[in-house]
Structure formats: structure tokens, C-alpha cells
């Protein structure tokens, strides 16, 4: 047996022993995802699973051990993911700290910042939100206006962010602020602060899904120590772009089928049934689903290939834009098909049988996938210019 085979066998045994049965059930609603934080809302099994994984550093398997990670090699990380998928283990910790801020801190943070923030992220102690978009800075993000005035050892921040996911539930925010009004990209800094700081307030935005996962976030003379700035003053755009690559990578994951079963196929069979040949009894819908599943399956391989190339330093720096574009468009298609397969059952907005319109709400939620983190059109611009090198 190779070392990797040994690692696989040990990993399988450990997961088998430590992953609670509830954590092997498919994710069905928002509440099924574990986010940790200072004010956690744990479902049964979530805390045990998160803590067990964190104790091995496996909430962030490829981060260094010193920062709470597992210190695993790319090959070992892949084995862990494969074994978790095979056992249908849920992700132990959903976290913008892991998927977005962490990578940026690993690259741009000071040793002190890494030791402090990364360790807490790995253990699920601090829940983060992202302060990027503003009312007048959407696709043109670098035109952001939230100001940070220099006040000696700290900044005083004033302004407004929008579309801040879960700002009302987050403990800390990573935030883009303007430290120089005379230039655009070159006048942005990247700061971290506690959402409990005086002067911070949030207001949920009611969306078409009936949920309010996004907020407006207001900053009114918020004091932020300069030690909480990541990277140099006015160099925040570099951090922002690097982080966006990771955000796009995370969002692209929405194109992947969920680890537990295939709700689209199961839902279609349940509603429509199979004919005497074992085919879905609606041939046109079956064809649409089958064609979609070819792409979804191929994108699953693309996701694996992308991660392999990324870890090996072989991925094009703009490749996350392709992943984000494809994954989100695919996810929108998946939910359109799920709604078509479920028919009027899924249109019920509040009933028990529809779990409070869960699928209809999820379907509506996916419409933001191709807007948030840079619209599909912005991603296509990036692919055209940076990968295909088409002229401006």
C-alpha cells in the first residue's frame, strides 16, 4: 500500500467513526448548513461534526497546522474530499472565512493576523461577512466610496455597503474602504472589523424569495485600528481581486450536484414516475434533464480538474471566472428543471408538504448566482480579455 492508500483507509475509518448520521443527510434548507460563529444556531449533530473536523484541522485541510489547518498535501486533501463525498458527509463548516478571507490572509496577512484570525476561522468561532458592493458600486466595484479617514493609529469609517450576505448574523466583516479619493483602484484599502463596533448597523433586504439573506450595512464613524488593515494602505484592490477569485471558485461550486443524492432526478421520478421501460414518463422533460446532467457531470470533472490545476500552480489566473460563469449558469438551469419537474406541488409557498416553499425559494435565490461575485457578463469580459487576450 502506498502512503496515500494508508491515508485513505485511515481517513475512511475516522470519518465512519466521527461523522454523525444526521450529517450524512442531504442539505435541504438553509438551516442545514452549519455556519458556526459567536451566536451559532446549531442543528443536532452540527456542532459535534464541526468540532470533530476542526480538532484535526480538517475544516481547512490544506491550511498550515500553525493556523488551525490540517497541513494536508493536495493529494491528501483530494482523498479526504473523495472519502467525504463517498460517505455523503456534509461540509462541516460553511464559512466566508474559509472560502474567501482565509486565502487572502494566507497571502497578504501579517503573521500576527494569520495566527489570530485564521485559527478562529478554522474552528468556526467567528462568522465573517463581506463588505464589497455599494449602492453605486456594483459591477464597477472599484468606484466604491465608503471612506476611511486617517486618525493616527486608526481609521474612521463612514459609508454604506449593500448585498452584504448574512451581515445581520456575522461577527466580523472584511471590508473595502477608500483611503485615497484621487485615484480609483489605487485608493482602496482592505480592513477587518467587529460588527459589534459602535456605529455599525445592518438592515436586512427582503428578496423575491421572501428571505433576507442580504443586508444593507451602514458605517457611521466606526473606529478601526490600523493593525486590522490587511496589506498596505491603498493596496486593498490587490487583496480584493485575489479574494474575488476565491469567491468565484466558491460560487462555482453551486454548479455541482449536492453530495447526498440528486434532488432533481429524485424529484422528477417522484412527481412524474417512470414508464414501463424505466424511463421518466415525460420524454421531453427527461431529454432536458439528461442533457443538463451531461453538462453537470462534465462540470463535476471540470471542478476537480480546476482544483488539481490550481494546487499544482497550473491554472490560468482568470480561470475562476470561467468556473463562476459556468457553475452559476448551470445551477440556475438545475433549479429551473427542478421547478418544472415538481409542477404545482413546488409552487406552494407556505405549505408543510412544500416545506414552506423551500424549493421555490431556492429557485428564486439562484437567480442571484449569476449576479453576485461579478455578473456572468463581467466574467465573460474577463475571460475574453485575460484568457483569450481579445483586444479592448
Amino acid at each position: 500500500m502506498t502512503d496515500l492508500d494508508t491515508f485513505r483507509a485511515e481517513t475512511r475509518a475516522w470519518l465512519e467513526a466521527n461523522c454523525p448520521p444526521e450529517m450524512r443527510e442531504p442539505i435541504r434548507t438553509d438551516k442545514d448548513a452549519c455556519w458556526g460563529g459567536r451566536n451559532p444556531d446549531f442543528q443536532p449533530g452540527q456542532k459535534e461534526w464541526m468540532d470533530a473536523m476542526a480538532s484535526r484541522g480538517w475544516t481547512v485541510p490544506d491550511w498550515p497546522v500553525a493556523y488551525g489547518g490540517g497541513g494536508l498535501s493536495p493529494a491528501e486533501t483530494k482523498v479526504l474530499r473523495e472519502e467525504m463525498a463517498a460517505m455523503k458527509c456534509r461540509n462541516p463548516l460553511n464559512s466566508f472565512g474559509i472560502s474567501m478571507l482565509g486565502p487572502a490572509l494566507l497571502k497578504y496577512g501579517t503573521e500576527e493576523q494569520k495566527l489570530d484570525y485564521l485559527t478562529k476561522i478554522a474552528k468556526g468561532q467567528i462568522r465573517w461577512c463581506q463588505g464589497y458592493s455599494e449602492p453605486n458600486a456594483g459591477s464597477d466595484l472599484a468606484s466604491l466610496a465608503t471612506s476611511a479617514e486617517d486618525a493616527g493609529d486608526h481609521y474612521v469609517i463612514n459609508g454604506q455597503k449593500v448585498w452584504t450576505s448574512y451581515a445581520d448574523k456575522a461577527d466580523w466583516i472584511f471590508c473595502l474602504v477608500r483611503t485615497d479619493k484621487t485615484t480609483k483602484q489605487g485608493g482602496i484599502s482592505f480592513v477587518l472589523f467587529d460588527m459589534a463596533s459602535p456605529g455599525v448597523s445592518t438592515k436586512p433586504i427582503l428578496l423575491i424569495s421572501g428571505y433576507s439573506p442580504f443586508c444593507e450595512t451602514f458605517m457611521d464613524n466606526v473606529k478601526v485600528p490600523k493593525s486590522q488593515r490587511v496589506h498596505d494602505e491603498n493596496k486593498g484592490w490587490d487583496v480584493a481581486k485575489y479574494l474575488l477569485g476565491h469567491e468565484r471558485e466558491m460560487i462555482s461550486g453551486m454548479g455541482l450536484a449536492s453530495s447526498g443524492g440528486n434532488p432533481l432526478i429524485e424529484g422528477a421520478i417522484a412527481t412524474i414516475g417512470l414508464d414501463h421501460d424505466g424511463r421518466l414518463a415525460d420524454p421531453l422533460l427527461r431529454a432536458s434533464i439528461a442533457s443538463f446532467e451531461v453538462r453537470a457531470n462534465a462540470f463535476g470533472s471540470m471542478s476537480e480538474r480546476f482544483i488539481d490545476e490550481l494546487k499544482a500552480g497550473r491554472a490560468h489566473p482568470a480561470q475562476p471566472s470561467m468556473m463562476k460563469y459556468y457553475g452559476t449558469e448551470l445551477n440556475k438551469s438545475r433549479h429551473e428543471l427542478m421547478m418544472a419537474a415538481g409542477g404545482s406541488n413546488l409552487l406552494e409557498w407556505e405549505s408543510e408538504s412544500s416545506r414552506g416553499g423551500a424549493e421555490a425559494r431556492a429557485w428564486l435565490r439562484t437567480k442571484a448566482n449569476s449576479i453576485e461575485g461579478g455578473t456572468s457578463e463581467v466574467q465573460l469580459n474577463i475571460i475574453a480579455k485575460r484568457i483569450l487576450e481579445l483586444p479592448a
Binding site: S291, V294, S301, D308, A312, M322, I383, L390
Partner: protein, 375 residues
């Protein structure tokens, strides 16, 4: 195993890219077509493939081959696709070898394949669309069998030294059981091969078996047990065709993106127009996803994984869809010049159409993916 080419595979890619680019670029195919060449490919080129070792890419080292796998075979096929090189590589070095490997037929046929003397053709399809059914019958006759029926879309079938034929020895056309696979030589009595030039200038034969007597030792594997070697053939053929499609789609995309950087209208390069940029970027995305599907299928096939079959169908369907998009966008973005015979982009469109049909089109494979998933 990471889903990208390792160092050895990359080195092979460099070698084959240079070789095919130099000896069989698109103008080589154009010259064969213009000469109305009756063979459909260059035997000299096939001989050169053999000298480079490529014809034995899937044959074990002990038998004189390179002992490599489907990832490496795909590297060769992608360059064949990119250059639209007419070659018996897919039918012979990939599909036929995968079928005969480990059987009693290897000793008879592999030396000729290794030497570049033998060309194989696959007599599988019986109707205009690839299906799972086999209707051509093989009846017991003396010490052997007598074949009766028709096959079509048999690439190189008019010149092949080795024909692999799927026949029915029991049951009826749509049964999964009762199929027997045969390896038979050319020039048999009562076998008529009618070569037909296809849209892409390749030549495929219609074969008429009118009571063709063959020896019992032509059976590959067991009588009535042909499904297993046939599946080997189809998995290898489909994966290979996917790799070739990737080359065709990639070649067409490169030409098109190159054209966008060169053609000027309204006083500027047309590649600066966002309408065209977005179409090109979307095409790039589809081709990238298709590439991932192909290497996944190749790796699973090389690992003898039981999930290989679905991955192969995903690869074939995905490359057919992505490459079809690539050649359509290619002609459209080239504008009027894309409609001319003089310009190469149209050749890509024709080749893509032929490869998309080969061993089952995107719908056929989407159906297989659905069946495998239980709907």
C-alpha cells in the same frame, strides 16, 4: 491522480503535436480530397506513425508496443483532430487493439498493426443512427459461421485488412445477449464493400455480407458472449472520438479567436466587440468543461473503473455539444469567408459532424447517462 497531463504525457504531446503539425496539417487532408484519393488516408503516414511507435500505443511493452493508456492515445487523437488528419489510428490503434488485447487474436493482428501494415475497420452500425441493436446474423456453418446482413458507416471498411464485426448468434436484434464479435480478414467471398465519401471527405464503407463463410477461430472471446468485447470496443472508440472532437473543437476555436484578432471592420479589430467577445468566452468555457470530461473518462478507463462507462458517455455527449458549438461559432464569426471552400474552418464543421455521429451522438449518450442514473 490529478486531472491533467503529467510530465511524460506532456512530453508526448509536444512530440505528437510537432509530428502531426508537420506531416499531416489540414492541407494534407485537403490534398487527399482534391486528388479524390481512393484510400482516404496516406499509407506512408500510417507507416510513419508505426515508426514513431504510435500504432502500438495501447499494446503492451512485452508485445512490442508502448504499453500506454487511453490518456496517451487521446493526446495523439487530439492532435489528429486539431489537424483534421485522416488516419486509421482511432479504429486500429485504439478501438481494435482495445478489443483484441488479451485475446487469442492479439498474436495474429498486433504485429501488423505495430508495423503499420495493418488497418482495422469496425463493422458495428446497421442503420443511419448508432444503436445498441445487432441484427446481422452469424449462423453455424461447417466448422465456422456464415454471416448475413448489412453494416454501414464503416470507416476505412473498403481498405481494411482486419474487420471487427458485431453479429447475432442468438436472440433478436435488440437483445443484449446473443451477440458474437468476430475478427475477420479482408477479401472474403460474398462480402461487398462499397466505399462512400462522406461530407468531411473521409471514406466509410457500406458492407454487404451475403452468406460470408468464416472460420470458428474468428470469434473474439465466446460465442454469444460478444457484449463484453463489444463494450470494450465501444468504450475505447467513444473515448477516442471524444478526444478527437476536442482537437477539432479546439482547433476551430483557436482559428476563430485568431481571426477575431486580425479582421478589421468599422476601423477596429472585430475582437474588440463585446458581442463577439462574450460568444468566444462562452465557447472557451464549454471547451474547457469538455476537456475535463474527456480526461476523466480516459483516466477511469485506464483504471478499469466501474464508473468508466457513464464517464465515457458524458465525454462523448459533452465533446459533441461543445465542438458543435465551436464549429458553428467558427463559421459565423468568420463571416462570409467561413463559407468558402478555400478557408479551412468549414472542414472543421464537417469533421465535427461526422465525429459527433460516430459511436452514438449526444442524444444517444445523454440517454445512456439517464438510464444509468435510473430514469
Amino acid at each position: 491522480m490529478p486531472l491533467f497531463l503529467d510530465d511524460d504525457q506532456t512530453a508526448l504531446q509536444d512530440t505528437i503535436r510537432d509530428f502531426v503539425g508537420e506531416h499531416a496539417p489540414v492541407k494534407h487532408m485537403r490534398a487527399l480530397r482534391d486528388a479524390n484519393d481512393a484510400t482516404g488516408f496516406s499509407r506512408d503516414l500510417w507507416k510513419s506513425f508505426a515508426e514513431m511507435g504510435f500504432t502500438g500505443i495501447l499494446i503492451g511493452e512485452a508485445e512490442g508496443g508502448l504499453g500506454l493508456g487511453h490518456v496517451e492515445a487521446g493526446v495523439v487523437l487530439e492532435e489528429i483532430g486539431r489537424n483534421l488528419s485522416p488516419s486509421p489510428f482511432l479504429t486500429t490503434a485504439v478501438a481494435a487493439v482495445a478489443t483484441l488485447k488479451g485475446t487469442a487474436h492479439a498474436a495474429r493482428w498486433f504485429p501488423g498493426i505495430l508495423a503499420g501494415d495493418t488497418v482495422a475497420a469496425l463493422a458495428i452500425d446497421e442503420g443511419a443512427k448508432h444503436r445498441d441493436s445487432v441484427g446481422l446474423t452469424a449462423e453455424r456453418s461447417g466448422n465456422g459461421f456464415k454471416l448475413t446482413g448489412k453494416k454501414q458507416f464503416v470507416t476505412h471498411g473498403h481498405v481494411a485488412d482486419l474487420l471487427i464485426v458485431a453479429a447475432r448468434t442468438a436472440g433478436s436484434a435488440d437483445d443484449a445477449a446473443g451477440i458474437t464479435l468476430f475478427a475477420i480478414p479482408k477479401d472474403l467471398a460474398n462480402l461487398t464493400a462499397t466505399p462512400e465519401r462522406l461530407a468531411d471527405s473521409s471514406i466509410a464503407a457500406r458492407l454487404d455480407f451475403d452468406g460470408v463463410e468464416i472460420d470458428a477461430d474468428a470469434v473474439i472471446g465466446d460465442v454469444d458472449g460478444g457484449r463484453s468485447p463489444l463494450d470494450r470496443l465501444l468504450r475505447a472508440g467513444r473515448t477516442g472520438a471524444s478526444a478527437e472532437l476536442l482537437g477539432v473543437g479546439g482547433g476551430a476555436m483557436d482559428m476563430t479567436v485568431g481571426y477575431l484578432k486580425q479582421r478589421k471592420q468599422f476601423g477596429t479589430m472585430i475582437g474588440s466587440f463585446q458581442a463577439l467577445q462574450h460568444r468566444a468566452a462562452h465557447l472557451y468555457s464549454e471547451m474547457e468543461v469538455a476537456r475535463a470530461a474527456v480526461i476523466k473518462a480516459q483516466q477511469l478507463l485506464d483504471a478499469n473503473s466501474d464508473t468508466a462507462d457513464t464517464a465515457v458517455s458524458v465525454a462523448k455527449a459533452m465533446t459533441a455539444m461543445a465542438t458543435t458549438l465551436s464549429v458553428q461559432e467558427g463559421v459565423q464569426m468568420h463571416g462570409g469567408i467561413g463559407m468558402t471552400d478555400e478557408y479551412n474552418i468549414g472542414f472543421y464543421m464537417k469533421r465535427a459532424r461526422v465525429l459527433a455521429e460516430m459511436f452514438g451522438d449526444a442524444n444517444f449518450h445523454a440517454d445512456r447517462v439517464a438510464r444509468a442514473a435510473g430514469y
